[in-house]
C-alpha cells in the first residue's frame, strides 16, 4: 500500500462528471424538438404585416367621405372588416371621434384580434 500512487484519481472523477452531464444533455435534447417548434411558430405567427396593413387602411378610410359607391366611407370600412375576416382570419373593429372645438384631433380606436394576437390602439391625428 505504501507504494500506491493516487495522482490520477481525477481521471475517474472526470469520467463520472462527463457521463452525468451527458445524461442531462440528453434530457435537454429530448425536449428541444417541441420547444423549437413552438418558438418558430410564435415568430412566424406574429401578424406584424397584417396589423400594419390593417391599421394603415383604417386610418386612410377615416378621411373618405360618404359619397358615391366606390370611394364611399361606409362601404370601404365594411370591406376592411370583411376582408380581414376572410383573408387574415382576424376580427377588426374600429370607431372614431371627430375633432371638437376644444380638441382639434381625430381619434380612432382600433381593435384587432386573430385568436392568438390581439392589438388595441387609440390613434390620434397630428
Amino acid at each position: 500500500m505504501a507504494g500506491l500512487r493516487d495522482d490520477a484519481q481525477w481521471i475517474v472523477l472526470m469520467g463520472f462528471i462527463v457521463s452525468f452531464s451527458l445524461f442531462f444533455v440528453a434530457i435537454v435534447i429530448n425536449q428541444s424538438t417541441v420547444v423549437g417548434q413552438t418558438t418558430a411558430e410564435a415568430v412566424i405567427e406574429f401578424p406584424k404585416n397584417d396589423i400594419r396593413g390593417m391599421r394603415d387602411m383604417i386610418i386612410q378610410s377615416e378621411f373618405l367621405v360618404d359619397e358615391g359607391v366606390f370611394n364611399n366611407k361606409t362601404n370601404v370600412q365594411n370591406d376592411i372588416k370583411t376582408l380581414s375576416l376572410h383573408r387574415q382570419n382576424s376580427v377588426v373593429s374600429f370607431s372614431s371621434r371627430n375633432p371638437t372645438g376644444s380638441d382639434p384631433h381625430t381619434y380612432i380606436e382600433i381593435h384587432y384580434s386573430n385568436g392568438v394576437t390581439a392589438y388595441n390602439e387609440t390613434w390620434r391625428s397630428n
Binding site: 417548434q37 375576416l85 382570419n89 376580427v91 384580434s113
Partner: protein
C-alpha cells in the same frame, strides 16, 4: 515446507464446485433479471418513444394544415417516420362500419346554420401503446383505446373575441381521393381545396335580446374524443354545456357565449399521399 503448510491452511473450506455454483448462480440471476425486467422496460421505452415522436409529428402536420388554411398556402409536404403503428386518412365521407362519424352542427332557434359537418381525420393508430392520435378539425387529440378519456394535445384556431362578441369557427375538412395508410418512413403531401366563408350577424338587436347560438357535437361511438372537445369548448371558448354528458358517446349540446357575429369558415384539405 512451512510455505506449503501455510497455503494448505489458507484453503480450508474452499471448494471449487461451491465457488462455481456461486458464480454461476450470480450470472444466471443477472441474466434473468435483465431478461425479465430490463428487456420489457426497454421495449416499453421504445413504445412510448414512438408514441411521443408521433405526437410531435402530428403537431407538425397540424402546423401544415394551419399554413394551408389560414395562410392560403396551396401545397405542403412533410417527411416523417411513423414508428410502432400506422398513419391513416379517414376522409370526411368515410362511414365507419358501426356507429356514425363525429359531426358538428351549429344552430340557433330558427334552425341549422351548419348542418352536421364531418371533418374526417388523419389518425395514428399505435399497435402496442393502445392509443390513437388524431388530427381532426385542426386539433390534435389523443385517446387510449380501452379507457373512456381523451385529451387535446393542440387546439384548433377557433376564437371568441369578447370586445366585438364575435365567434370565429374554422372547420377543416380532410379529404382524399382514396383510402391511404402508411407505416415507416413516408411523406405527407397535402393541398388546399375549396374554401367557404359564412357570416351570420345580429348586430341590430338590443344586447339583452341576442338570440342564443348552439353547437351540437356528436361523437363517433367507437372513436370518442368528446371529453377532449368538451374541455376545449368550455374552457377555451367559454361555451356552456346545455345537454348531454361527455364521454358516453352521445350527442352534446353547447351554448355559445353572448355572440352577435358568428363567422364560420370551412376549408378543404386534400391529402394527396402518405
Amino acid at each position: 515446507m512451512t510455505g506449503r503448510l501455510n497455503r494448505i491452511a489458507y484453503e480450508d473450506g474452499v471448494s471449487e464446485s461451491i465457488g462455481f455454483l456461486l458464480i454461476f448462480t450470480l450470472v444466471i440471476v443477472g441474466i434473468g433479471l435483465v431478461t425479465l425486467y430490463g428487456y420489457p422496460m426497454l421495449l416499453q421505452q421504445q413504445v412510448s418513444a414512438d408514441e411521443q415522436i408521433m405526437e410531435k409529428n402530428m403537431i407538425v402536420l397540424q402546423n401544415d394544415v394551419k399554413s394551408l388554411a389560414y395562410k392560403t398556402i396551396p401545397y405542403k409536404e412533410t417527411s416523417l417516420k411513423i414508428g410502432g403503428g400506422t398513419l391513416s386518412v379517414f376522409n370526411s365521407s368515410y362511414t365507419p362500419p358501426s356507429g356514425v362519424p363525429a359531426a358538428i352542427t351549429i344552430l340557433d332557434n330558427n334552425g341549422d346554420l351548419i348542418d352536421s359537418f364531418q371533418s374526417g381525420d388523419l389518425m395514428y393508430l399505435s399497435d402496442s401503446a393502445g392509443t390513437d392520435v388524431s388530427l381532426q378539425n385542426g386539433a390534435v387529440v389523443k385517446r387510449h383505446r380501452v379507457e373512456p378519456g381523451s385529451v387535446m394535445l393542440a387546439e384548433p384556431r377557433w376564437f371568441y373575441d369578447g370586445m366585438t362578441k364575435t365567434m370565429v369557427i374554422n372547420l377543416i375538412n380532410i379529404t382524399s381521393d382514396e383510402m391511404l395508410s402508411r407505416a415507416g418512413v413516408g411523406t405527407v403531401q397535402m393541398s388546399l381545396g375549396d374554401m367557404q366563408f359564412q357570416k351570420f350577424s345580429v348586430d341590430d338587436v338590443p344586447s339583452t335580446l341576442h338570440p342564443p347560438v348552439y353547437l351540437k357535437y356528436t361523437p363517433n361511438k367507437n372513436q370518442d374524443y368528446s371529453i377532449a372537445w368538451d374541455n376545449y369548448f368550455r374552457r377555451s371558448l367559454g361555451m356552456s354545456l346545455t345537454s348531454g354528458t361527455p364521454g358516453n358517446g352521445l350527442e352534446l349540446q353547447y351554448q355559445f357565449p353572448d355572440t352577435t357575429t358568428l363567422v364560420v369558415k370551412q376549408f378543404e384539405v386534400n391529402i394527396r399521399s402518405l
